[in-house]
Symmetry: C2
């Protein structure tokens, strides 16, 4: 096979005759696929790396949108990125896929198999949970420490010096990810329903959420909630919960405090299982925290709240919220 | 039109020439349709009423199984019951539908419209929430008092002497029906995940639920949970939670205590809004309690726990658990 990159040249239809690599990043809301030229190990990489094609599709987490929709999104985004780059499937040398959500081996395997079905058998496929990608990006590539992701879903992931790994949360909305964007929003919706039917106290969330969704009564929230089962749609209500908390609403405040407790507890569980904090509990280790829930707001800063709790547990923890 | 029943005679292909009535009962797990002969008002009803056809299909709650599946189940069960009775759609004079689940007017309307689409416009359609059917059956037809249903879902419904109505709970799993069978089971699954990843204490639920589902690790629960989104499948784990509580498991006990609190709170909210307990809070009124969650078990009797709480709130409450 030709390898024009070994002498720094580019040839072929797309200008990179030695084939392409696809990078896929699958989040709960969307999936991004970029197509970059293939370089042999040892080649000098151009900086910046030329992006030959880029496409965006819907969610590829099968636990959220179902197997068929997840697979369709994957097929679509790959085809579009390839078409943009002027390549086709036969040009693909490898696929690197970062996936969000549930990290059970059988999930990874499923996605890996979908990709393998799409390409000839010689194409190399790498699947990695996005938590791992986030940790590596926050620690300059070193896989040691803990990463907490709190977006639509949430997960805490840890890596010990000895190569051991541990995870906490990440079970999705039915299995108690209360610190996730989905969890926060579901509790806010529940608080509105409870205030409406007399089981709970009044809350500013009622008028705020109804207005945001263009609904006239809390009864209509039920139809709204079940009309579309995608998790990201519900999680998108988080900013309203934050704004209510900032306006002094006690119910919203409690939901966010509970979420911060839950997220910090997930980190604590991972750190303890891996012994990242050392025998006396004071060893230094990084905790990279990413995701929309952890973003700073005007007054309520969930990232800071979680960080404070983690440092209370482990004085040696170095919490890092990467600037995006 | 012929009306052979006015003289007690039956004619026509199915032996009841004046047409048929369909009775539909839609629960979270299944939908039953019976086909009975039509009798004019004033006719003497034969006792027992002859059942011309009976069919069972899947769930018709669109919030649980989605709109297409719910509608398909409805079509299927109607066709089968009619076929069994030797009738066809043109024989149908009226349809009485008792539906479970979310009771917002738009839900009722949707189902009513489905049925109307199935039949010619002269066919009378009555849609009623199953809570109302349950109260009437527990109070010998009188619509006064409160009904609590706790099966796969849960809902409390109340009717005042003045014709006023109120509801609490019934918002489904995302909107905090924690006293429902689904709510109880989801918390049990969450407890297993939390014990597994180090966020929560060990519980007997782990070995019990894994064994019941034929799984080898709590990690596999994630895939199991999201493989099939129907609520009834998750709610079916309730007996395992009860057996663990009966065996002394503290986590299971707490889940069931919380569920009993939540169910009693739903009744309390309805009673207070309607003033069923009178001004001094001691007036007598019936509370009919139905559904699988409230069934007595060996030691743990959720129905009795809920009943005790209701009577603690309202000494005049007459709790009734109809024998099925």
């Amino acid at each position: 096979m030709r390898n024009p990159h070994s002498n720094g040249e580019a040839t072929g239809e797309n200008g990179f005759g030695d084939g392409v690599i696809l990078g896929l990043d699958g989040g709960a809301t969307s999936t991004v696929c970029v197509c970059v030229p293939y370089f042999s190990f040892g080649d000098r990489f151009p900086d910046p790396l030329p992006i030959l094609g880029r496409a965006v599709a819907g969610c590829t987490n099968r636990n959220s949108v179902g197997e068929t929709a997840a697979r369709d999104s994957l097929e679509q985004v790959v085809s579009e990125a390839l078409a943009q780059s002027g390549s086709d499937k036969s040009d693909v040398r490898g696929v690197c896929l970062g996936v969000s959500g549930v990290n059970h081996p059988s999930d990874q395997e499923k996605i890996e198999n979908w990709i393998r079905d799409m390409f000839p058998s010689h194409v190399k496929v790498y699947v990695q949970n996005d938590a791992i990608v986030a940790l590596a990006s926050g620690t300059m590539g070193k896989l040691h420490g803990c990463v907490l992701i709190a977006g639509t879903g949430c997960i805490a992931y840890g890596f010990g010096e000895d190569g051991k790994e541990a995870r906490a949360s990440g079970g999705g909305p039915i299995l108690g990810d209360w610190g996730s964007g989905y969890g926060i929003s579901a509790q806010a919706l529940t608080a509105v329903i409870r205030a409406h039917d007399g089981r709970g106290p009044e809350t500013l969330l009622t008028s705020t959420i109804l207005k945001a969704l263009g609904l006239s009564s809390p009864d209509e929230l039920i139809g709204w909630t079940y009309a579309d089962p995608s998790w990201a749609r519900i999680a998108a209500l988080v900013p309203h919960v934050v704004s209510c908390a900032e306006a002094g609403d006690k119910i919203s405040d409690k939901i966010l405090v509970d979420a911060a407790d839950d997220l910090a507890l997930s980190v604590k569980a991972v750190v303890q299982r891996l012994g990242l904090c050392g025998e006396d509990g004071t060893a230094s280790f990084p905790v990279v925290m990413v995701g929309g829930v952890l973003n700073a707001n005007r007054k309520w800063d969930t990232g800071k709240e979680v960080s404070n709790r983690i440092i209370r547990y482990f004085p040696g923890a170095q919490t890092i919220i990467p600037k995006v």
